[in-house]
Amino acid sequence: MNNLYFLIGILLFFLTMILFSSQFYIFATRNYTKAVSKRLGFKVKELHYSLDQIIYFISLPSNLPEVRNAKIEDLVIEQDYSCYLFPKLKGIKIWIHSNKNRLELGYLPIENFRLPSLDKWENEGKISDETNFKISICKLIHPKTIKEIREEVFKQIQIGRYEIS
């Protein structure tokens, strides 16, 4: 019986670790970014980026009825982490529910989400590759960026890359 309490305690310990690791990982990344942005005098929300590097798994514009008829709120944007206990953001998955099935639309790998200002600072030696990576993570998971990703993907699947003006 005594041992059972120990096992439950250990189980709770690991479960809590796993369940909240990505949130705390993001929390720490945000804190780090805040410190760097204060030191370098920039605001993350003012950094420019491009969503050109999203990799699509369907034709643009799509001819699939389930994609064409999808509403913007049907799009699901999901953060993709490397593992549970020591998470690292790998990218953003974009998919929609179609007839109870999941239909993958695209993926944006974090290493492809480059911000010109950060690359320039890295090239000038002002920030390290690791710092560049952490700030990019903050920018990518920023609610405004997620909203823009949703709008961008919706436009692409409806109108296509070449016709958007």
Binding site: N3, Y5, G9, S21, N123, R161, S165
Partner: protein
Amino acid sequence: MYVLFLFLSIVLALSINLIRFHFNPITNKIIFTFSSLFLVEVYATFIDVSPLTWMLLIFIFSSSYAFQIWGGIGSASISYAFLHLQIGEELLVLPLYLLFGVVIGFAVKYINKQKEENDQWNKVLLKQSKYFHVFSEVSVRMQQTLQRDKLLTTILTSVTAGHGLGFNRAMIFLHNEETNTLTGILGVGPMDIESGYNVWEAISAEKLKLKDLITYNFQHNLTDPELNSILKTIEIPFDKNNIFGQALLTHQPILVDRINEKDEIQVFFKNIFNTKEFAVIPLITQGKNIGILFIDNIVNQKPITLLELEYVIPLANQAAIAINHTSLYNQIEEMALKDGLTGLHNQRAFQSIFEQYFQSISITNPLSLIIFDIDYFKVYNDKNGHLLGNEVLMQLAKVFHQSIRTGDYSFRFGGEEFVALLPNTTLEEAYLIGETIRKNVEQTVFPGEEKQPTGTLTISLGIASTESLMIQSKNDLIDAADRALYKAKETGKNKVVLLKEYVPHE
């Protein structure tokens, strides 16, 4: 006490999570590993030490998970030390701990390796998926245009855009069959790193899409205009001694990771475009050398790999077909609009250009028309033969074309009849031009002209302009000029006649 332990487990997990991500990955793992040891020790110290032997397996498991085999061995040793201090001699436990640590460490290592391989496969498939979509989208785009510049821009943008192949800079050189050289036509990309970042920042700031990017690149000089101004002056001889010729002759792309100082072209590119590493891809279709696609990463200095070149080749092949197609179309279009004998525009071209200018006429923007033909041309042909007659038409066309201004149009209307279309020209100005043509023809020595009734080859010209209020249509203007020409013929030939007052046919 037990409830307190459960509560501590959760609080400890949250606290550790709060702290560990602020450190580097190794420290993060150490904090995680020892937090499990801490929890075990709390239980052993305050609740019950008797199950410590197997409870320490949790610590060994955590350490093996974090640091694999060495983590397993290290934590087994630490665990044994703790056990020895708290319970006493248990010699048999050490090999068991070590075995457990090594087995878990191996298992984790194996799983991680499998995961890494899967990640690698995913990356390759993502890349393939991206290139497949780039290729299919660009192919569609290329098929939608027959304008060479638009086509080249599409190719270059697809090679350099973020959603495309993502190279920093690309240039196209086309093969000139007459001079057997490769001529710089169009380039996309900066001249140096600084301007590269500025362009990228501007594109990102304005969230430019491909369509906008194409417009921006060339209308707003977003791409360094210096690149294109230099590029357009470059002519590279097509021979086996330079890298461009080698790529075309071997039909293989060439990756240059170090400039060969013996190759003048490579040295030239290094000096002019600051390139240290680049690739040249031949554009060839059906054995015909179309040109060269040049790519480099001037901004991020990222090395170009052979694998990346593999992805460029299908696009380059498609581009070569499209460029060749466009070139053939343009040749056919030109042939359809040009007179085969004289090289002047023909009547079909006249109708189209005349329509275009007639639509924009106004009092301040009059359109004038000169119609002329050769005096006694039938006599000339009868006495000198049609072959020499053709020679005269060709020579006359040259004189005619050289006598008009830039912006004026010269046409062979048919037979020995020629037309000059003079946009934004008054009747008086048109008269001066007409007189220039007449004099130049009169002064030119044509073969066999001495057999003409006047001893020289001359022309008669009729001129009309939309300045006359009675001219309401294109036919009116042609008719008016024609009447003036008729009058010039009737009143002695070798003269210019203006039709100032036009009365339309009823």
